[in-house]
Subunit: 214 residues, 2 copies
């Protein structure tokens, strides 16, 4: 499939645009222009037009964008026109919260497997929004990923074990990891990693609080 290279900063704004469009759809707006989009998204109209121009000729000058077709188009670019299957490794408090997080389902993601190393959790049935899931052992990680057809792995694991588990995830053929552990993962170039750690975010905020004059 030939496609123009879309800048990473544009990619990062596409989910935001999609959310704004879904809001416009909920408000029964048939069309939306770049000024309205920019207002909803907290950016500026030139930015919106430039970002969307990477996706093809989508709007009509002086009229705007057709909300329904732009939703379909961005969903297609984001690869979420169909559901994507994700597995969670680490069923602690965070992993548990993720399992019931409606935002994932609304955005087109389904949790298809949950793994943990705790014998007390392994084999128990837990409720996801798409139905019950039996917690698997991380010992069976490779089989679980193959059998569940997971395309994305969410690592909600303790920092010290995260890299070793990620190595196994990559070897099992998964090409997308969302890492919630406070450790920077080393993965091959062909694997996409997004990293987010809430404690780290708080520490960065704390730094700014410490720096600023009262």
């Amino acid at each position: 499939m030939e496609r123009a290279i879309v800048p990473q900063t544009t990619i990062q704004r596409l989910p935001l645009y999609l959310r704004c469009l879904l809001e416009a759809q909920a408000q029964r707006m048939p069309l939306v222009n770049s000024v309205e989009m920019a207002e909803m998204c907290g950016t500026n109209a030139a930015q919106v037009r430039k970002d969307l121009s990477y996706l093809g000729e989508l709007g009509t000058r002086g009229i705007g964008y057709d909300v329904e077709s732009l939703i379909a188009h961005i969903s297609g670019v984001l690869g979420i026109a169909e559901r994507r299957r994700a597995a969670i490794i680490g069923f602690g408090r965070f992993g548990g919260a993720l399992l019931g997080y409606s935002g994932f389902v609304e955005r087109g993601f389904e949790i298809v497997a949950v793994m943990d190393s705790d014998p007390a959790k392994i084999g128990t049935e837990v409720q996801s929004l798409s139905g019950p899931i039996v917690v698997s052992s991380v010992d069976d990680l490779e089989d679980v990923l193959v059998e569940s057809h997971a395309e994305i792995v969410i690592m909600a694991t303790p920092a010290p074990v995260t890299q070793a588990l990620a190595d196994r995830v990559v070897k099992a053929g998964v090409r997308a990891i969302l890492n919630l552990a406070p450790v920077r993962l080393a993965v091959p170039d062909e694997v996409a990693v997004r990293q987010t750690c809430l404690s780290t975010e708080l520490q960065i905020l704390s730094f700014y609080l410490a720096q600023k004059p009262l």
Copy 2:
């Protein structure tokens, strides 16, 4: 307080260095050199030395860094030598998981208030790791922030109401916000905002999955 300007990229790595040092401390290492630090943190030694050089003359050439004193120093720079007080707005599934997240306490943060708009939740007592907290109404946001002396607010709120609540948080004098809602916040320059949304992260991963040749 006079201080050299520390680059933002360095600031973002300081929590990672701190975590590695705490690991070294747990392993009873009295000293650690930049090569060891780099290995633990998944970066390179030159980067470690450069980042730490912004904080002053901390190591001894050929010997390394004293683990205890570097922990104390980075904690001081990050402003977490003493506990920082944080309030959570939005006590849904995520807000609830945050309340029991031991990572916050380990990193020096205490949840001192929880707010929600749901009458069924307001007034109920919930367990944080530092003791019970009564859920307050967001209607009383300003009073709650003042009385709890919260320095940081964590927004775990539905997207459409987040900006309006953040405006009130800023007016109440809070200068640091961790925003977990999928909406970009507009705040005055003197307020630090960190933004993280897990659905957005999954959508970005999905984009890469859609782009890459199989």
